[in-house]
Protein backbone atom coordinates (compact mmCIF):
# COMPACT_ATOMS: atom_id res chain seq x y z
CA UNK A 1 0.00 0.00 0.00
CA UNK A 2 2.92 2.33 -0.63
CA UNK A 3 3.69 3.68 -4.09
CA UNK A 4 6.57 2.19 -6.06
CA UNK A 5 9.49 4.59 -6.41
CA UNK A 6 9.24 7.41 -8.95
CA UNK A 7 11.04 10.62 -9.81
CA UNK A 8 9.14 13.80 -9.06
CA UNK A 9 9.14 16.99 -11.10
CA UNK A 10 7.56 20.10 -9.64
CA UNK A 11 6.98 21.86 -12.93
CA UNK A 12 7.79 25.56 -12.92
CA UNK A 13 6.51 26.17 -16.44
CA UNK A 14 4.13 24.50 -18.84
CA UNK A 15 7.02 23.88 -21.24
CA UNK A 16 8.85 21.92 -18.56
CA UNK A 17 5.86 19.69 -17.96
CA UNK A 18 5.38 19.12 -21.72
CA UNK A 19 9.07 18.41 -22.11
CA UNK A 20 8.94 15.58 -19.58
CA UNK A 21 5.85 14.14 -21.28
CA UNK A 22 7.59 14.31 -24.66
CA UNK A 23 10.71 12.52 -23.48
CA UNK A 24 9.09 9.98 -21.14
CA UNK A 25 5.74 9.36 -22.84
CA UNK A 26 3.68 6.70 -21.12
CA UNK A 27 6.20 6.35 -18.27
CA UNK A 28 5.31 9.82 -17.03
CA UNK A 29 2.08 10.74 -15.30
CA UNK A 30 0.71 14.17 -14.53
CA UNK A 31 -0.30 14.64 -10.92
CA UNK A 32 -2.66 17.48 -10.05
CA UNK A 33 -4.84 16.91 -6.97
CA UNK A 34 -3.94 13.22 -6.99
CA UNK A 35 -7.27 12.00 -5.65
CA UNK A 36 -7.68 9.42 -8.42
CA UNK A 37 -4.02 8.78 -9.15
CA UNK A 38 -2.79 8.33 -5.57
CA UNK A 39 -5.00 5.30 -4.80
CA UNK A 40 -3.71 3.73 -8.02
CA UNK A 41 -0.12 4.45 -7.00
CA UNK A 42 -0.68 3.17 -3.46
CA UNK A 43 -2.17 -0.06 -4.79
CA UNK A 44 0.53 -0.20 -7.47
CA UNK A 45 -2.02 -0.36 -10.25
CA UNK A 46 0.09 2.43 -11.74
CA UNK A 47 3.89 2.53 -11.55
CA UNK A 48 5.04 5.59 -13.46
CA UNK A 49 8.76 6.36 -13.69
CA UNK A 50 8.16 10.05 -13.17
CA UNK A 51 5.36 12.20 -11.74
CA UNK A 52 4.93 15.75 -12.99
CA UNK A 53 3.22 18.03 -10.48
CA UNK A 54 1.43 20.83 -12.36
CA UNK A 55 -0.29 22.51 -9.41
CA UNK A 56 2.23 25.38 -9.19
CA UNK A 57 1.51 26.51 -12.76
CA UNK A 58 -0.43 29.77 -12.53
CA UNK A 59 -1.54 29.59 -16.16
CA UNK A 60 -3.49 26.42 -15.37
CA UNK A 61 -5.10 27.94 -12.30
CA UNK A 62 -7.96 29.81 -13.90
CA UNK A 63 -11.71 29.76 -14.35
CA UNK A 64 -12.28 31.73 -17.51
CA UNK A 65 -15.72 32.68 -18.82
CA UNK A 66 -15.65 32.98 -22.62
CA UNK A 67 -18.41 33.83 -25.05
CA UNK A 68 -20.62 30.77 -24.68
CA UNK A 69 -18.52 28.55 -22.46
CA UNK A 70 -16.46 28.48 -19.31
CA UNK A 71 -12.93 27.09 -19.35
CA UNK A 72 -11.74 25.42 -16.17
CA UNK A 73 -7.96 25.05 -16.00
CA UNK A 74 -6.14 21.89 -14.96
CA UNK A 75 -5.05 23.27 -11.59
CA UNK A 76 -8.56 24.24 -10.44
CA UNK A 77 -9.60 22.10 -7.52
CA UNK A 78 -13.16 20.82 -7.20
CA UNK A 79 -13.63 22.79 -3.96
CA UNK A 80 -12.54 25.98 -5.72
CA UNK A 81 -15.04 25.56 -8.52
CA UNK A 82 -17.80 24.80 -5.99
CA UNK A 83 -17.00 28.11 -4.29
CA UNK A 84 -16.86 30.07 -7.55
CA UNK A 85 -19.57 32.75 -7.13
CA UNK A 86 -21.07 32.39 -10.62
CA UNK A 87 -21.35 28.61 -10.56
CA UNK A 88 -25.08 28.40 -9.81
CA UNK A 89 -25.92 30.92 -12.49
CA UNK A 90 -23.55 29.94 -15.28
CA UNK A 91 -22.93 26.23 -14.74
CA UNK A 92 -26.00 24.97 -12.96
CA UNK A 93 -25.50 21.33 -13.92
CA UNK A 94 -21.98 21.38 -12.51
CA UNK A 95 -23.27 22.95 -9.30
CA UNK A 96 -25.82 20.13 -8.98
CA UNK A 97 -23.38 17.29 -9.68
CA UNK A 98 -20.14 18.45 -8.08
CA UNK A 99 -21.30 17.91 -4.47
CA UNK A 100 -21.65 14.23 -5.45
CA UNK A 101 -18.01 13.98 -6.56
CA UNK A 102 -16.15 12.23 -3.75
CA UNK A 103 -16.31 13.79 -0.31
CA UNK A 104 -15.40 17.21 1.00
CA UNK A 105 -12.03 15.73 2.03
CA UNK A 106 -11.21 14.69 -1.55
CA UNK A 107 -12.81 17.70 -3.28
CA UNK A 108 -10.45 19.95 -1.35
CA UNK A 109 -7.54 18.52 -3.35
CA UNK A 110 -9.04 16.80 -6.40
CA UNK A 111 -9.29 18.75 -9.64
CA UNK A 112 -12.01 18.96 -12.30
CA UNK A 113 -9.61 18.10 -15.12
CA UNK A 114 -8.10 15.24 -13.12
CA UNK A 115 -11.51 13.63 -12.86
CA UNK A 116 -11.93 13.98 -16.64
CA UNK A 117 -8.44 12.55 -17.28
CA UNK A 118 -9.07 9.56 -15.00
CA UNK A 119 -12.35 8.80 -16.85
CA UNK A 120 -13.95 6.55 -14.26
CA UNK A 121 -17.23 5.37 -15.82
CA UNK A 122 -19.19 6.31 -12.70
CA UNK A 123 -17.60 9.75 -12.19
CA UNK A 124 -19.78 12.85 -12.28
CA UNK A 125 -17.59 15.35 -14.15
CA UNK A 126 -17.20 13.23 -17.32
CA UNK A 127 -20.97 12.72 -17.26
CA UNK A 128 -21.71 16.42 -16.91
CA UNK A 129 -19.18 17.42 -19.58
CA UNK A 130 -20.74 14.91 -21.97
CA UNK A 131 -24.32 16.00 -21.19
CA UNK A 132 -23.44 19.64 -21.87
CA UNK A 133 -21.52 18.82 -25.05
CA UNK A 134 -18.27 20.21 -23.68
CA UNK A 135 -14.72 19.91 -24.93
CA UNK A 136 -11.35 18.90 -23.58
CA UNK A 137 -8.32 21.03 -24.47
CA UNK A 138 -5.24 18.84 -24.88
CA UNK A 139 -1.75 20.26 -25.06
CA UNK A 140 1.53 18.68 -26.08
CA UNK A 141 4.91 20.00 -27.18
CA UNK A 142 3.60 19.43 -30.73
CA UNK A 143 0.25 21.17 -30.69
CA UNK A 144 -2.94 22.13 -28.93
CA UNK A 145 -6.16 20.35 -29.90
CA UNK A 146 -9.76 20.24 -28.78
CA UNK A 147 -11.71 17.02 -28.46
CA UNK A 148 -15.46 16.80 -27.88
CA UNK A 149 -16.41 14.90 -24.74
CA UNK A 150 -18.34 12.34 -26.84
CA UNK A 151 -15.10 11.43 -28.65
CA UNK A 152 -12.81 11.68 -25.64
CA UNK A 153 -14.05 8.87 -23.42
CA UNK A 154 -13.04 5.64 -25.13
CA UNK A 155 -13.63 3.04 -22.43
CA UNK A 156 -13.16 2.35 -18.78
CA UNK A 157 -10.41 4.78 -17.71
CA UNK A 158 -9.35 5.04 -21.34
CA UNK A 159 -9.37 8.32 -23.22
CA UNK A 160 -8.29 9.91 -26.47
CA UNK A 161 -5.34 11.60 -24.73
CA UNK A 162 -1.95 10.68 -26.22
CA UNK A 163 0.97 9.85 -23.93
CA UNK A 164 2.68 13.16 -24.55
CA UNK A 165 -0.45 15.26 -23.94
CA UNK A 166 -1.85 16.84 -20.82
CA UNK A 167 -5.29 18.29 -20.26
CA UNK A 168 -4.86 22.05 -20.21
CA UNK A 169 -8.52 22.82 -19.51
CA UNK A 170 -12.04 21.59 -20.01
CA UNK A 171 -14.72 23.81 -21.50
CA UNK A 172 -18.31 23.68 -20.29
CA UNK A 173 -20.84 25.27 -22.67
CA UNK A 174 -23.22 27.72 -21.02
CA UNK A 175 -25.76 27.94 -23.86
CA UNK A 176 -28.09 25.29 -22.49
CA UNK A 177 -28.59 27.49 -19.50
CA UNK A 178 -30.50 26.48 -16.49
CA UNK A 179 -32.84 23.84 -17.83
CA UNK A 180 -30.99 20.87 -16.46
CA UNK A 181 -31.27 18.26 -13.75
CA UNK A 182 -29.05 15.71 -12.03
CA UNK A 183 -29.65 12.71 -9.86
CA UNK A 184 -27.44 9.95 -8.55
CA UNK A 185 -27.99 6.73 -6.64
CA UNK A 186 -25.07 5.40 -4.58
CA UNK A 187 -24.72 3.31 -1.44
CA UNK A 188 -23.69 6.39 0.50
CA UNK A 189 -23.49 9.99 -0.66
CA UNK A 190 -20.00 10.38 -2.14
CA UNK A 191 -19.51 6.71 -2.99
CA UNK A 192 -19.16 5.60 -6.59
CA UNK A 193 -22.42 5.99 -8.47
CA UNK A 194 -24.53 2.90 -9.13
CA UNK A 195 -26.37 5.07 -11.63
CA UNK A 196 -25.92 8.81 -12.20
CA UNK A 197 -28.06 10.74 -14.68
CA UNK A 198 -27.86 14.25 -16.06
CA UNK A 199 -30.48 15.86 -18.29
CA UNK A 200 -30.15 19.03 -20.35
CA UNK A 201 -32.86 20.72 -22.42
CA UNK A 202 -31.83 21.14 -26.08
CA UNK A 203 -33.40 22.79 -29.13
CA UNK A 204 -35.07 19.56 -30.15
CA UNK A 205 -35.85 17.94 -26.82
CA UNK A 206 -33.76 16.65 -23.97
CA UNK A 207 -30.30 15.10 -23.85
CA UNK A 208 -30.04 12.44 -21.17
CA UNK A 209 -26.62 11.19 -20.09
CA UNK A 210 -26.06 8.16 -17.89
CA UNK A 211 -22.96 7.22 -15.90
CA UNK A 212 -22.09 4.19 -13.82
CA UNK A 213 -23.66 1.66 -16.20
CA UNK A 214 -21.57 1.32 -19.37
CA UNK A 215 -17.77 1.62 -19.69
CA UNK A 216 -18.12 5.34 -20.33
CA UNK A 217 -20.87 7.88 -19.72
CA UNK A 218 -23.37 7.66 -22.60
CA UNK A 219 -25.66 10.43 -23.85
CA UNK A 220 -28.77 10.15 -26.01
CA UNK A 221 -31.11 12.82 -27.38
CA UNK A 222 -34.79 12.31 -26.67
CA UNK A 223 -37.46 14.01 -28.76
CA UNK A 224 -40.42 12.00 -27.50
CA UNK A 225 -40.97 13.55 -24.14
CA UNK A 226 -44.09 11.99 -22.71
CA UNK A 227 -46.36 9.00 -22.55
CA UNK A 228 -45.62 5.54 -23.88
CA UNK A 229 -43.25 6.90 -26.54
CA UNK A 230 -40.98 8.14 -23.76
CA UNK A 231 -41.39 4.89 -21.85
CA UNK A 232 -40.32 2.91 -24.90
CA UNK A 233 -37.40 5.21 -25.67
CA UNK A 234 -36.13 5.02 -22.08
CA UNK A 235 -36.50 1.26 -22.07
CA UNK A 236 -34.50 0.97 -25.29
CA UNK A 237 -31.82 3.25 -23.82
CA UNK A 238 -31.67 1.24 -20.60
CA UNK A 239 -31.06 -1.97 -22.56
CA UNK A 240 -28.59 -0.37 -24.98
CA UNK A 241 -26.36 0.59 -22.04
CA UNK A 242 -25.58 -3.10 -21.62
CA UNK A 243 -25.70 -3.08 -17.81
CA UNK A 244 -23.90 -5.86 -15.98
CA UNK A 245 -24.28 -7.60 -12.64
CA UNK A 246 -21.51 -6.74 -10.22
CA UNK A 247 -20.90 -6.88 -6.49
CA UNK A 248 -22.83 -3.63 -5.96
CA UNK A 249 -26.09 -4.51 -7.67
CA UNK A 250 -27.79 -6.24 -10.58
CA UNK A 251 -28.07 -5.23 -14.20
CA UNK A 252 -31.85 -5.26 -13.86
CA UNK A 253 -31.79 -2.77 -10.98
CA UNK A 254 -29.54 -0.48 -13.01
CA UNK A 255 -31.98 -0.60 -15.95
CA UNK A 256 -34.82 0.18 -13.55
CA UNK A 257 -32.93 3.20 -12.26
CA UNK A 258 -32.21 4.46 -15.78
CA UNK A 259 -35.91 4.22 -16.70
CA UNK A 260 -37.13 5.78 -13.47
CA UNK A 261 -34.55 8.56 -13.03
CA UNK A 262 -34.50 9.22 -16.77
CA UNK A 263 -38.23 9.93 -16.82
CA UNK A 264 -38.04 12.02 -13.66
CA UNK A 265 -35.24 14.21 -15.04
CA UNK A 266 -36.77 14.60 -18.51
CA UNK A 267 -40.03 15.70 -16.91
CA UNK A 268 -38.15 18.07 -14.61
CA UNK A 269 -36.38 19.92 -17.44
CA UNK A 270 -39.44 20.11 -19.72
CA UNK A 271 -41.89 21.21 -17.06
Amino acid sequence: MKPAAFDYVRAESLDEALDVLRSEGGDARIIAGGQSLMPMLNMRLAKPRVLVDIMRLKELHRIEPRQDKIAVGAAIRQAELLEWPSLDRDLKLVSLALPWTGHVQTRSRGTICGSIAHADPSAEMPLVLLALGGEIVLLSARKRRRVAARDFFRGMMATDRDDDELIEAVEFPTSNGNRCAFREVARRHGDFAIVACAAVATDRGVRLAVGGVADTPIARDFDALEGSALTDALNAFAYDLDARNDLHTTARYRRDLVRMIGRELIEAVTR
Binding site: M1, K2, P3, A4, A5, F6, D7, Y8, V9, R10, A11, E12, E16, D19, V20, I31, G34, Q35, M38, P39, L41, N42, M43, V50, L51, D53, M55, A79, P99, G102, H103, V104, Q105, T106, S108, R109, R188, H189, G190
Partner: protein, 173 residues
Protein backbone atom coordinates in the same frame (compact mmCIF):
# COMPACT_ATOMS: atom_id res chain seq x y z
CA UNK B 1 13.92 22.24 -13.97
CA UNK B 2 14.65 20.13 -10.95
CA UNK B 3 13.88 16.50 -11.30
CA UNK B 4 13.90 14.90 -7.88
CA UNK B 5 15.23 11.41 -8.26
CA UNK B 6 13.44 8.44 -6.79
CA UNK B 7 16.45 7.13 -4.90
CA UNK B 8 17.35 10.34 -3.13
CA UNK B 9 15.83 12.34 -0.34
CA UNK B 10 14.83 15.90 -1.13
CA UNK B 11 14.19 18.99 0.91
CA UNK B 12 10.64 19.58 2.10
CA UNK B 13 9.60 22.64 4.08
CA UNK B 14 6.21 23.21 5.60
CA UNK B 15 4.51 24.54 8.68
CA UNK B 16 3.17 21.72 10.84
CA UNK B 17 0.93 22.70 13.74
CA UNK B 18 2.47 26.16 13.78
CA UNK B 19 6.08 24.96 13.73
CA UNK B 20 8.42 25.29 10.79
CA UNK B 21 9.55 21.90 9.53
CA UNK B 22 12.59 21.51 7.27
CA UNK B 23 13.32 17.86 6.47
CA UNK B 24 14.14 15.58 3.60
CA UNK B 25 12.12 12.71 2.11
CA UNK B 26 11.88 10.46 -0.92
CA UNK B 27 9.41 11.47 -3.65
CA UNK B 28 7.17 8.49 -2.95
CA UNK B 29 6.70 9.27 0.74
CA UNK B 30 3.05 9.83 1.66
CA UNK B 31 2.18 12.78 3.86
CA UNK B 32 0.70 10.34 6.39
CA UNK B 33 4.03 8.49 6.67
CA UNK B 34 5.98 11.74 6.74
CA UNK B 35 3.95 12.98 9.70
CA UNK B 36 4.13 9.68 11.59
CA UNK B 37 7.59 8.38 10.76
CA UNK B 38 9.67 11.48 10.03
CA UNK B 39 8.07 13.85 12.53
CA UNK B 40 6.95 11.21 15.01
CA UNK B 41 3.49 12.72 15.43
CA UNK B 42 1.45 9.54 15.68
CA UNK B 43 -1.92 11.14 16.41
CA UNK B 44 -2.74 10.87 12.70
CA UNK B 45 -3.84 7.30 12.07
CA UNK B 46 -3.47 5.25 8.91
CA UNK B 47 -6.34 2.97 7.99
CA UNK B 48 -6.99 1.90 4.42
CA UNK B 49 -4.26 3.88 2.64
CA UNK B 50 -6.38 4.39 -0.44
CA UNK B 51 -8.62 7.24 0.55
CA UNK B 52 -11.73 5.42 1.67
CA UNK B 53 -11.71 5.36 5.48
CA UNK B 54 -10.74 8.95 6.35
CA UNK B 55 -8.67 8.02 9.43
CA UNK B 56 -5.61 9.92 8.15
CA UNK B 57 -7.45 13.19 7.46
CA UNK B 58 -5.40 16.29 8.24
CA UNK B 59 -5.97 19.95 7.44
CA UNK B 60 -3.91 21.43 4.58
CA UNK B 61 -4.17 25.20 4.17
CA UNK B 62 -7.49 25.23 5.99
CA UNK B 63 -9.11 22.36 4.11
CA UNK B 64 -9.47 18.74 5.22
CA UNK B 65 -7.46 16.30 3.12
CA UNK B 66 -6.51 12.64 3.06
CA UNK B 67 -2.86 12.44 4.14
CA UNK B 68 -2.60 9.00 2.48
CA UNK B 69 -3.64 10.50 -0.88
CA UNK B 70 -1.11 13.30 -0.64
CA UNK B 71 2.62 13.12 -1.24
CA UNK B 72 4.74 14.93 1.31
CA UNK B 73 6.44 16.83 -1.54
CA UNK B 74 3.05 18.14 -2.71
CA UNK B 75 2.58 20.18 0.48
CA UNK B 76 5.89 22.07 0.13
CA UNK B 77 5.23 25.52 1.59
CA UNK B 78 1.79 24.60 2.93
CA UNK B 79 0.37 24.87 6.40
CA UNK B 80 -0.60 21.47 7.76
CA UNK B 81 -2.49 20.80 10.97
CA UNK B 82 -3.00 17.46 12.69
CA UNK B 83 -4.95 16.34 15.74
CA UNK B 84 -1.98 17.33 17.91
CA UNK B 85 -2.91 20.97 17.26
CA UNK B 86 -6.31 20.76 18.94
CA UNK B 87 -5.27 20.62 22.59
CA UNK B 88 -3.41 23.58 24.11
CA UNK B 89 0.18 23.64 25.40
CA UNK B 90 -0.89 22.29 28.78
CA UNK B 91 -2.65 19.39 27.12
CA UNK B 92 -6.15 20.65 27.85
CA UNK B 93 -8.60 19.32 25.29
CA UNK B 94 -10.02 21.66 22.68
CA UNK B 95 -13.74 22.49 22.41
CA UNK B 96 -14.42 19.74 19.87
CA UNK B 97 -12.38 17.14 21.74
CA UNK B 98 -14.15 17.92 25.03
CA UNK B 99 -17.52 17.57 23.33
CA UNK B 100 -16.42 14.18 21.94
CA UNK B 101 -15.43 13.08 25.42
CA UNK B 102 -18.66 14.23 27.05
CA UNK B 103 -20.80 12.56 24.40
CA UNK B 104 -18.90 9.29 24.11
CA UNK B 105 -18.33 10.09 20.45
CA UNK B 106 -15.55 7.51 20.26
CA UNK B 107 -14.99 3.98 21.43
CA UNK B 108 -11.81 2.49 19.99
CA UNK B 109 -10.68 5.92 18.80
CA UNK B 110 -8.99 4.79 15.61
CA UNK B 111 -11.08 6.99 13.32
CA UNK B 112 -11.32 9.89 15.77
CA UNK B 113 -8.28 11.96 14.82
CA UNK B 114 -9.44 12.18 11.21
CA UNK B 115 -13.02 13.01 12.12
CA UNK B 116 -11.86 15.72 14.53
CA UNK B 117 -9.78 17.36 11.81
CA UNK B 118 -12.62 17.32 9.26
CA UNK B 119 -15.04 18.80 11.78
CA UNK B 120 -12.47 21.32 13.00
CA UNK B 121 -11.99 22.55 9.43
CA UNK B 122 -15.77 22.75 8.95
CA UNK B 123 -16.42 24.68 12.17
CA UNK B 124 -13.46 26.99 11.57
CA UNK B 125 -15.03 27.96 8.23
CA UNK B 126 -18.60 27.98 9.44
CA UNK B 127 -19.56 27.82 13.11
CA UNK B 128 -23.18 28.01 11.88
CA UNK B 129 -22.86 24.53 10.35
CA UNK B 130 -26.07 22.56 10.80
CA UNK B 131 -26.67 18.85 11.16
CA UNK B 132 -26.94 18.30 7.39
CA UNK B 133 -23.52 19.85 6.81
CA UNK B 134 -21.99 17.85 9.64
CA UNK B 135 -23.47 14.63 8.23
CA UNK B 136 -22.13 15.53 4.79
CA UNK B 137 -18.62 15.92 6.20
CA UNK B 138 -18.95 12.60 8.04
CA UNK B 139 -19.73 10.71 4.80
CA UNK B 140 -15.98 10.95 4.23
CA UNK B 141 -15.21 8.90 7.34
CA UNK B 142 -15.79 5.36 8.48
CA UNK B 143 -16.45 4.65 12.16
CA UNK B 144 -17.26 1.06 13.03
CA UNK B 145 -17.97 1.67 16.74
CA UNK B 146 -20.30 4.56 17.40
CA UNK B 147 -23.01 4.49 14.76
CA UNK B 148 -22.18 8.20 14.24
CA UNK B 149 -25.08 9.55 16.35
CA UNK B 150 -22.90 10.62 19.31
CA UNK B 151 -20.38 12.15 16.88
CA UNK B 152 -23.10 14.32 15.36
CA UNK B 153 -24.32 15.30 18.81
CA UNK B 154 -20.81 16.23 19.92
CA UNK B 155 -20.21 18.27 16.76
CA UNK B 156 -23.46 20.21 17.20
CA UNK B 157 -22.62 20.87 20.83
CA UNK B 158 -19.12 22.08 19.94
CA UNK B 159 -20.54 24.32 17.21
CA UNK B 160 -22.96 25.89 19.69
CA UNK B 161 -20.13 26.44 22.13
CA UNK B 162 -17.98 28.08 19.45
CA UNK B 163 -20.86 30.42 18.67
CA UNK B 164 -20.96 31.33 22.36
CA UNK B 165 -24.41 29.85 22.87
CA UNK B 166 -23.43 27.50 25.67
CA UNK B 167 -22.18 28.72 28.99
CA UNK B 168 -20.50 25.60 30.23
CA UNK B 169 -19.15 25.20 33.73
CA UNK B 170 -15.52 24.07 33.81
CA UNK B 171 -15.31 20.32 34.18
CA UNK B 172 -12.21 18.45 35.29
CA UNK B 173 -11.07 16.10 32.58
Amino acid sequence: MTRMSAEQRHQIRLVLNGNRVDRVCEPRMLLSDFIRHEIGATGTHVGCEHGVCGACTVVVDGRPARACLTLALQVEGCEVRTVESLADQQGRLGVLQSAFQRNHALQCGFCTAGILMSLDALLARCAQADEAEIRDVLTGHLCRCTGYAPIIKAALEAAAEMRGEVDREAVDA
